[in-house]
């Protein structure tokens, strides 16, 4: 369970990234965070695994206060949280399976890490993760020979190999075409349902958010202006979040 209590993030130049955020996310929820660019979506997501430090308030994840974590404890904490990035962040020159296996590195002994010797269990876990996102047959292919959508699924498999309790995704489908975006969102949904992993997605395509998420959180200028079921989001609500009519690029056009 992720709990934000009066969380604030103020940058050194005075700008407020997050302003008095109160939020509670239970295990197994599928939450989409929407809002304008720069409104604070990315900041919100990244505070959960302490990629960004908060300056005020309290943030607890499964009972642990995030701001008390440092170095070793932080690393152990982050093992349980997977992160998916907009730009995939794969090592393009090596094979897909090696990319997924890199998620296991933090748990391995020093000697194994040095030589790159993954154990049998690690490899099984990696292969299972690849199977779960449906690209098992590409396991030994070089990562940069895959399409964008496939690469993002590899990144997703990489987080699955961590056996996480929470998956954070920072604009995971922004770099994908509509067809692949839907496929990847389906994967997120399936993983959320089957494995009961909390999924928090930062997304700027509103229709995708509404289609796949159970719960929607709207952020505007660092404050939460909407927090409720996706089904209750209508144009009024959207206007409140965005402060204006939606632009075309904030809707993903339906694939033909």
């Amino acid at each position: 369970m992720i709990k934000f209590e009066h969380v604030t993030k103020q940058y050194p130049n005075g700008v407020l990234g997050l302003d008095d955020v109160d939020l509670m996310i239970e295990q197994g929820e599928f939450v989409a965070v929407i809002g304008l660019s720069g409104a604070g979506k990315s900041t919100l997501i990244r505070t959960v695994n302490k990629m960004i430090d908060i300056t005020g308030g309290r943030l607890t994840v499964n009972g642990t206060d995030v701001s008390t974590l440092s170095r070793r404890a932080l690393r152990k904490f982050r093992r349980k949280i997977g992160m998916v990035f907009q730009s995939f962040n794969l090592v393009t020159r090596t094979s897909v399976i090696n990319n997924v296996l890199s998620a296991r590195v933090a748990d391995m002994s020093f000697f194994r890490t040095l030589l790159g010797l993954y154990s049998r269990q690690d490899k099984m876990l990696a292969l299972e993760s690849l199977d779960k996102v449906g690209i098992l047959e590409k396991a030994y292919v070089r990562a940069d020979q895959l399409s964008g959508g496939q690469q993002q699924r590899v990144a997703l498999a990489r987080t699955l190999a961590q056996s996480p309790e929470i998956i954070l995704a920072d604009e995971p489908v922004a770099a994908l075409d509509p067809v692949m975006a839907n496929v990847v969102m389906e994967d997120f949904k399936r993983i959320n349902r089957e494995m009961n992993i909390t999924v928090v997605i930062n997304i700027h395509h509103v229709d995708l958010a509404l289609q796949y998420a159970d719960r929607v959180v709207g952020i505007r200028a660092g404050r939460i202006v909407y927090d409720g079921p996706a089904s209750d989001v209508n144009d009024e609500v959207l206007k409140q979040i965005y402060g204006r009519e939606l632009k075309d690029d904030e809707r993903m056009k339906e694939a033909e």
Binding site: R112, Y118, R120, M124, L127, E128, D131, L136
Partner: protein, 278 residues
């Protein structure tokens, strides 16, 4: 512990996995572990042949600095004797580079595939060029020194040959990637082939050519300084002379100036090349 050894073994021999849902997948065989072992073997063998003995290095390491210590402080009075050979070196490298690249230019046009010469003639010439390229500059210099006697001319010739080989290779590889559209357009108007080359291809190649010349110059400054050692003129000659006479202070000055010259000239060449790219 045992599992580590097991996994290590499987690096050499791929195994297959069966997933929970029954799918089977086999690891991909990678020759890299074998290559690594061969490489290590090669390294050890080479170390034996070359007599690599780090113990010796540690023991005698002091001697390395011995010579340096005797070169400092350098003998500033030696500057007057040194001036001419220093200029000779710079001239040698400049002239050699310019001359070699100048000859290389028309040849590279002929050698690029675009000119559609006789295939075997082209292949033969390229092979000859490769052979010429493998000769280190100093060997060429040595040879010419014997034929022509000592002097800066020998060094200049050696550098010209070296610049020629590098320049031709770099140029014809580049010319082959150039857009031949304008060339074909000109040919269709009935102009002769050399004219078409000059007007259609040369403007595209101009910048790269000057960059190549500067690159040659940059590489040659260093070798020019060394060529003198075999009697090809320039400052290298002085080095062997001073060494034999054990005049280390003089040597110190020579080396100081040589290093400074190389740094400055290389810097100029690099700067000019960067400006050219814009």
């Amino acid at each position: 512990m045992r599992s580590i050894l097991q996994d290590l073994l499987h690096v050499f021999y791929p195994r297959s996995y069966t997933l929970a849902n029954g799918k089977q997948i086999r690891e991909k065989f990678s020759p890299i572990p074998y290559i690594t072992i061969l490489l290590i073997g090669l390294i050890l063998y080479c170390m034996k042949i070359a007599g690599v003995d780090f113990g010796l290095l540690l023991a005698k390491g002091r001697n390395f600095w011995d010579m340096l210590e005797r070169m400092i402080p350098p003998n500033w009075k030696y500057y007057d004797t040194m001036k001419k050979p220093m200029l000779d070196t710079i001239n040698m490298s400049l002239l050699g580079s310019v001359f070699g690249c100048a000859v290389a230019l028309p040849v590279s046009f002929y050698l690029s595939g675009n000119f559609k010469l006789n295939k075997t003639y082209l292949a033969a010439h390229r092979v000859l060029l490769s052979l010429l390229r493998t000769l280190p500059t100093i060997v060429v210099a040595c040879y010419f020194r014997m034929v022509l006697g000592m002097g800066a001319l020998v060094g200049t010739i050696a550098i010209s040959i070296f610049s020629y080989t590098i320049c031709v290779k770099m140029m014809y590889e580049y010319i082959e990637t150039v857009d031949m559209g304008p060339y074909e357009a000109m040919v269709s108007t009935g102009a002769s082939r050399p004219k078409c080359m000059l007007r259609a291809v040369w403007p595209q190649v101009k910048g790269y050519y000057i960059s190549t010349v500067l690159y040659c110059f940059e590489s040659n400054v260093k070798s020019a300084a060394i060529l003198g050692y075999v009697g090809a003129g320039g400052i290298g000659q002085i080095i062997s002379g001073r060494l034999n006479l054990r005049r280390y202070a003089d040597l110190g000055l020579v080396l100081l100036f040589m290093t400074a010259t190389i740094v400055i000239l290389e810097g100029i060449a690099r700067f000019a090349r960067r400006k050219l790219v814009h």
